[in-house]
């Protein structure tokens, strides 16, 4: 993709913590990334690693209390969203930055016709009249490929199938032609054939509208097919960030490696799959060192002592692992790992 020099969205050291009675859960703990116009950034990682919270933090939609943005900046076209007033923020939501949620079943208001759910954002942000907004809503439904959109617009969500509802969500998100679209697992609830339709649709629309897309998923297949760059998250951190090709061809971080290895490959037969032993540390009680250290096949003392930084390698791949630093004792292992 064409990388314009200035990113449209820049996340710097974002921290989102949950202050609960059990302690502080560091769901997002220092995230940095940039998104350029027309680019699709994939965020992957296993369940609970903080993907959704990252995206919600960008729009300042984290449930609060108990959640709170504890630090960092989210620069949208140079302005810091974190520091904005709620009124200003509202002007951006749904207008310049939109979001598609994971669950099409529950993310639409069950008692309001879908057309109205699209039109209300248009009336608000584009100052359209009732009629114009409705017509535009119908047009949007047509754009996302819903047959007989005039009829469908008047229906309520329960009358639509899952795939259609997800399309409605997309139409809603795109109605005001935002510059950034955040798609939080837009297809997990859907069948593969429908998933293919939806992904195709998002890609099409992105090409048409040229927006930056953040695609959140844990399906590496989806990432491979749709994203330009990928950020891999683990326990509230990005642990690797690179172009899609590079990550799949040559994963650096042991976690990324483990993840790719544990996928059953559709075009090869293996009797036994690779697995990653152990489990994710509790978000209430993060280890001092690398968060993957206890599960890492290459772990060394330093890994347990200090958390590595996300460091950009020569080839532009960013990785958060001691192996790729000078502090790593056993260079051989590192070489092997790179290979």
């Amino acid at each position: 993709m064409t990388e314009k020099n200035k990113p449209i969205l820049e996340v710097k050291g974002l921290k989102t913590h949950f202050y609960t009675k059990r302690g502080v859960s560091k769901a997002v703990d220092g995230i940095d990334f940039s998104l350029y116009k027309g680019e699709t950034l994939g965020i992957v990682g296993e369940s609970g690693c903080g993907k959704s919270m990252t995206s919600l933090s960008i729009l300042r939609l984290i449930p609060s209390p108990p959640g709170k943005i504890a630090g960092g900046q989210v620069l949208f076209k140079g302005k810091d969203l974190v520091a904005m007033s709620e009124d200003e923020m509202r002007k951006i939501r749904g207008n310049e930055i939109s979001m598609i949620f994971q669950e099409p079943m529950t993310s639409l208001n069950p008692v309001i016709p879908v057309g109205e759910q699209i039109a209300e954002a248009l009336r608000l942000h584009q100052k359209m009249g009732r009629k114009a907004a409705w017509e535009k809503a119908v047009e949007m439904l047509m754009l996302v490929g819903i047959p007989s959109p005039e009829k469908r617009a008047k229906q309520e969500p329960f009358q639509l199938s899952g795939g259609m509802r997800q399309r409605v969500m997309i139409a809603m998100a795109l109605a005001c032609t935002p510059e950034v679209l955040i798609a939080d697992e837009p297809t997990t609830a859907l069948d593969v054939t429908i998933q293919a339709q939806i992904l195709e649709l998002i890609k099409d629309l992105q090409n048409k509208l040229g927006m930056g897309v953040i695609m959140i998923t844990h399906d590496l297949g989806v990432v491979a097919e749709t994203c330009d760059t990928v950020a891999v998250m683990y326990a509230g951190n990005i642990i690797e960030h690179a172009s899609t090709k590079k990550i799949f061809a040559n994963p650096r971080h042991p976690y990324t490696q483990g993840l790719l290895d544990s996928l059953p490959k559709i075009h090869e037969d293996k009797e036994e799959l690779q697995t990653i032993e152990g489990s994710v540390p509790s978000p209430y009680n993060m280890p001092a060192g690398c968060r993957f250290a206890s599960r890492c096949p290459y772990q060394q003392p330093i890994c347990h002592q200090q958390q590595p930084e996300l460091i950009e390698q020569n080839d532009g791949v960013k990785v958060r692992c001691w192996m790729y630093t000078d502090k790593w004792a056993d260079k051989v292992v590192k070489e092997e790992a790179v290979k």
Binding site: R90, G94, F101, L108, V111, M172
Partner: protein, 306 residues
């Protein structure tokens, strides 16, 4: 929808028949002979026997019940043992009064309850919220007859701004409706609050926020309508409780309603009146439930899919 209503109406038939059956046989268990009560002080055995004969109380129970049922289907609810008036007339005089009372009460329940619930839910855990909820809890915890008498004491006897009893003008309805509606209002308030808080946690509210809508729009347009669904159910159930409560309120405020009629008739062992009264009361209850279901469906069409 029409079909749904029709089917539900059909379903009420066995319920209503069941009700008459239960009433009939419970009343047989009740000690006390209507003939004796009608005969009055000092009546001889012969007099009592004559009255019993005259009322047809000598026939076998099943014959009595069956006859009764058949007559009901023909629209004949029998005559009161007490004053020989057609039961249907007596019931129809009182039904509108009780319905009026119930109507005003449920209005109080709904308006007061929802308003309080919304006020509470908008700023949960605030001082207002706590205050409103404490009042609501008190409302639930007061025995209604006690509350009614207190209201009467203050507003009618002390302040003399409202009439004590009767059912003649709109002023007369205030205290009884308040007495009857207060408990329900408290329940509805709490329900509305928790339902609102629940709804506000839902994904679609997040969606609405993500669209950049104002908080007010989110609460009233996206929140309230959904929050009302469980509230409607509660209001429906409340209506049932309310019908039961009319007995006490009608006694206190001397309202000539169905509840009091049934109680008086039970005391007089006036079986046809009890039957007729309970039959109509339960019909009302069933119809109200049906109405609630229809409303429920209206607000939440999703359940049609199941």
């Amino acid at each position: 929808m029409l079909m749904f209503i029709l089917r539900r109406l059909m379903q009420t038939i066995p319920v209503v028949i069941g009700v008459t059956f239960v009433v009939f046989f419970i009343m047989q268990l009740v000690p006390g002979d209507p003939a004796v009560l009608l005969a009055g002080e000092g009546a001889s055995k012969e007099t009592i026997a004559a009255i019993r004969e005259q009322l047809g109380l000598n026939r076998p129970l099943f014959v009595q019940y069956f006859d009764y049922l058949m007559n009901v289907f023909r629209g004949d609810f029998g005559v009161s043992l007490k004053n020989s008036q057609p039961v249907l007339d007596e019931v129809l005089v009182r039904l509108p009064i009780t319905m009026e009372l119930a109507f005003f009460s449920i209005i109080i329940t709904i308006v007061l309850g929802m308003a309080a619930g919304i006020i509470s839910a908008i700023k949960p855990y605030s001082l207002t919220d706590t205050a409103v909820m404490i009042v609501a809890l008190l409302g639930i915890s007061l025995p209604s007859f006690w509350f009614g008498l207190m209201l009467m004491y203050f507003f009618s006897v002390k302040l003399q701004i409202l009439p004590v009893a009767g059912w003649d003008s709109i002023l007369h309805t205030i205290l009884p409706a308040l007495t009857l509606g207060a408990g329900g209002a408290a329940i509805v308030a709490r329900m509305t609050r928790s339902s609102m808080l629940e709804v506000i946690r839902q994904d679609y509210i997040r969606t609405a926020r993500a669209k950049g809508l104002r908080e007010r729009v989110i609460i009233y347009k996206h929140g309230l309508r959904n929050a009302l669904i469980p509230v409607i159910t509660v209001v429906g159930l409340q209506f049932g409780a309310l019908l039961g409560g009319t007995v006490l309120v009608e006694s206190i405020f001397a309202i000539n309603g169905l509840g009091r009629m049934i109680v008086d008739s039970i005391r007089m062992r006036d079986l046809p009146m009890v039957q007729g009264g309970v039959l109509v009361a339960s019909l009302v209850f069933v119809v109200v439930n049906l109405l609630v279901d229809v409303l429920y469906r209206f607000f939440n069409k999703r359940i049609e899919l199941n």
